[in-house]
């Protein structure tokens, strides 16, 4: 039987069968329940470590995670999942998480919500994990000292190589499998069958875009405009514009002349933000951006490619529908002008995840979402909030996915 390396809690290599037996046996103090205080206390203490200046300075993305796990936030999440009268919410069972290999902290969100739902969890940590992921594991292990023993028993993070036997055994042993890491990873992991009663929550390849109303821009004051530039900066540069929620295109809604004006001003402001943050895009990335954008031009997708230093590249799309969706290098903004939000309805695809916006009213946004009718775009959020994780993600209400309902009716 293949063994796995134990990263949290740290421990000697163990077999999958022992691992499954341990997480499923009843811990002292009883099985975890939805919103179990043993878990929320642990998460809150963990969050405090992430928010410590020494950690937050090195990995700003961990500070956001820390905010997400504050007590008030956790309570809100639990409260939102309160079942109606006559229904009881219980943990789903053993959850096997397969996060992306190329280090992202997103898996912590999915694990934390699943733990909050009272599930025993087994998280596969990539052997390539480094940086923020290692800081997360350190913080978790340190927090364990004061935690209820049920945490160490039921919450496990493990590393194993390309061992299909381990993946197969964990897939057989779980009640829910959560697969991050895009299409290839989902397809790859799905080769391993689940028990008939189990199912998958998958996070396939996604891409995102931003929309800005030229009229809304004109109506905004200088401070609001600057906030848009800062928001666009955060959404785009934080994960090298490679997060699924980072905008890979900007659509401008309005008359061409007004759009041109707004666009020039926004990119002027963005350049100031890039400058003030001291963001450096190195030569290799700059070359990467030229390879991808010149390629768009060669394909007849881009009619204009402009570089404002290494950090910002703008690409004029020949048509709004020719949006590339793929990663083009950090700080690359394909753009197109459209007359109204309606023009985007036919362009949106299932794989479009987040539409970040500025300058639109709630009615316009709701109207747009109703026209899309779920055929694409799972999140419509203000520019600047694209990367803010929520317990509703990719169209899933995760706490509901991580739990089951029991109906109780009496005569």
């Amino acid at each position: 039987m293949s063994t796995v390396e134990q990263r949290f809690p740290t421990g000697a290599p163990t077999s999958v069968s022992d691992l499954l037996a341990e997480v499923t046996s009843e811990p002292p103090g009883g099985r975890l329940r939805v919103g179990d205080p043993r878990v929320s206390d642990f998460l809150v203490a963990f969050a405090r470590r992430l928010l410590a200046p020494s950690v937050a300075r090195r990995f700003p993305e961990l500070a956001s995670l820390g905010f997400f796990l504050r007590r008030g936030e956790l309570e809100k999440t639990i409260a939102a999942a309160t079942p109606p009268l006559g229904q009881l919410r219980f943990p789903r069972g053993v959850v096997f998480h397969v996060p992306p290999a190329n280090v992202d902290t997103i898996f912590v969100y999915s694990w934390a919500l699943s733990a909050l739902a009272g599930n025993p969890n087994i998280v596969r940590i990539s052997s390539r994990s480094a940086g923020a992921a290692v800081a997360v594991l350190d913080a978790l292990n340190t927090t364990l000292a004061d935690a209820d023993p049920a945490i160490a028993q039921t919450q496990r993070m493990v590393t194993y190589g390309r061992d299909d036997a381990v993946t197969a055994a964990l897939s057989q042993g779980c009640d829910l499998r959560v697969i991050w890491g895009g299409d290839r990873s989902v397809t790859d992991i799905r080769r391993h069958p689940l028990r008939p009663s189990a199912r998958d929550v998958t996070f396939p390849d996604r891409s995102s875009f931003a929309v800005i109303s030229a009229a809304g821009w004109r109506a905004a004051d200088a401070a609001a405009r600057r906030d848009v530039a800062i928001g666009l900066y955060n959404d785009s540069y934080w994960f090298d514009q490679a997060a699924c929620a980072s905008p890979r295109a900007i659509y401008w809604v309005g008359e061409p002349e007004a759009v041109r004006e707004a666009r020039d001003e926004l990119f002027g402001l963005l350049a100031e933000v890039v400058e003030s943050k001291g963001t450096e895009v190195d030569a290799a990335m700059s070359v990467e951006k030229r390879v991808s954008t010149y390629g768009l031009a060669a394909e007849g997708v881009a009619s204009e490619v402009r570089f404002a230093g290494n950090a910002i590249a703008t690409v004029e799309l020949v048509e709004p529908g020719l949006v590339p969706r793929r990663w083009l290098g950090v700080g690359t903004f394909p753009q197109a002008q459209v007359g109204s939000l309606d023009d985007l309805v036919s362009i949106v695809e299932r794989r479009d995840q987040t539409m970040s916006h500025f300058g639109f009213g709630t009615d316009e946004l709701v109207g747009f979402a109703e026209q899309l009718a779920g055929r694409g775009v799972d999140r419509i959020v203000p520019i600047g909030d694209a990367l803010t994780f929520s317990s509703v993600w990719d169209g899933y209400d995760l706490l509901r996915e991580f739990t089951r309902l029991t109906t109780v009716q009496s005569r």
């Binding site: 895009g182 699924c244 980072s246 390629g295 009619s303």
Partner: protein, 353 residues
């Protein structure tokens, strides 16, 4: 051979004039012949008929573009040869399209360049490689093609390594017994010349003093051994008598154009039909002599595909102009730019990126 036929003859001033004119003409030729190239020029602000004052003002393409796009300036039915190169990642392959004329031209200019250092005749040739190179189809394209291309310049080919990639002392001894008293050619990749030929020759006291070594491939694999160009030349001279050593730099995307190290080892030189420009990695402006930057290569050879002005992913520095063994710029390659990598939700990035 005579000095008159050397392709290392033009001063920088002469070269600047002829290259500006020829490369501008080539730019217009490719614009007319390749719709992809025309679209790129239009998009980056180089419309038809734009005047250029300096070679450095001409629009360059990133060399990796040839790994993602089929860029060519000849109709499909005139494509005579498609060259490919595997990159370091293996998955990406450049495709370079040659028509008959371009294939002949590149061969002719490569010969003229190499003959500058070896003379007009084919010399007995020692290859620091293995014959098995041509049996393994997988590794053939990369290393094999390079070796095969150079084999044209020699005769009585002898491989330094046996089929199991172990030094074949008997073969080398036999070669030297037969040809070692007259000029002979040695070719190999830099790290192989060091790891296999140098060590063998040193340990076995082989006399390579009549050899002319032509090598390429970079120093990365020799960093562990603390061997740079100067040390390489010094030790070969001291321990094997080999003093005629010419490193060279070139790439499949500018096939036929090779930048050759001068006899004194003080830098690489550009053949008359080519040049290098070093650019600042932030402003992308040309930098002065002595300042390191990213290497752009220009050559008048690429006529069947728009590869006449390319930004490489190599860092380099120009040491001097018209001040060395041969006229023009002399320069060194300092290493490669790191490959840009992104993090994100997805394990793999699709498409061209």
């Amino acid at each position: 051979m005579t000095v008159a036929t050397s392709v290392f003859s033009k001063s920088q001033a002469e070269r600047d004039v002829s290259l500006l004119q020829e490369l501008t003409e080539l730019t217009e030729h490719h614009r007319a012949a390749s719709v992809e190239y025309r679209r790129i020029l239009d998009a980056i602000g180089h419309p038809a008929g734009r005047r250029y004052e300096r070679v450095a003002d001409l629009p360059w393409l990133p060399v990796r573009l040839f790994k993602h796009h089929a860029l060519k300036s000849v109709p499909d039915d005139e494509v005579f040869k498609v060259l490919t190169s595997s990159g370091t990642t293996g998955a990406e392959v450049s495709r370079i399209f040659l028509d008959k004329e371009a294939a002949a031209a590149q061969q002719r200019m490569l010969s003229a360049t190499i003959q500058t250092v070896i003379g007009p005749n084919r010399l007995p040739m020692l290859l620091v490689d293995t014959k098995a190179l041509f049996k393994n189809r997988r590794s053939f394209s990369a290393r094999g093609a390079g070796v095969l291309g150079m084999m044209n310049f020699g005769r009585d080919h002898t491989f330094v390594l046996d089929e199991n990639e172990r030094p074949d002392l008997d073969a080398v001894r036999g070669f030297l017994a037969k040809h070692g008293d007259q000029p002979f050619l040695i070719f190999g990749f830099t790290f192989m010349a060091w790891l296999y030929l140098y060590e063998l020759a040193r340990d076995e006291h082989l006399d390579l003093s009549n050899g002319i070594l032509i090598h390429s491939g970079g120093w990365k694999k020799l960093i562990d051994q603390a061997v740079d160009n100067a040390e390489f030349r010094r030790r070969f001279a001291q321990d094997t008598g080999l003093t005629r050593i010419h490193n060279y730099y070139g790439m499949v995307e500018q096939i036929g154009t090779v930048y050759v190290e001068g006899p004194s080892g003080n830098g690489l030189y550009c053949p008359d039909f080519a040049d290098v420009i070093v650019r600042d990695p932030v402003t992308w402006e040309e930098v002065p002599v002595g300042t390191p930057g990213v290497i752009e290569v220009v050559s008048t050879l690429p006529r069947s595909y728009p590869g006449h002005i390319l930004l490489t992913e190599d860092r380099g520095v120009i040491h001097g102009i018209d001040d060395g063994d041969w006229p023009g710029k002399r320069f060194s390659i300092l290493g490669r730019l790191p490959r840009a990598e992104a993090r994100g939700c997805s394990d793999t990035f699709q498409g061209a990126a």
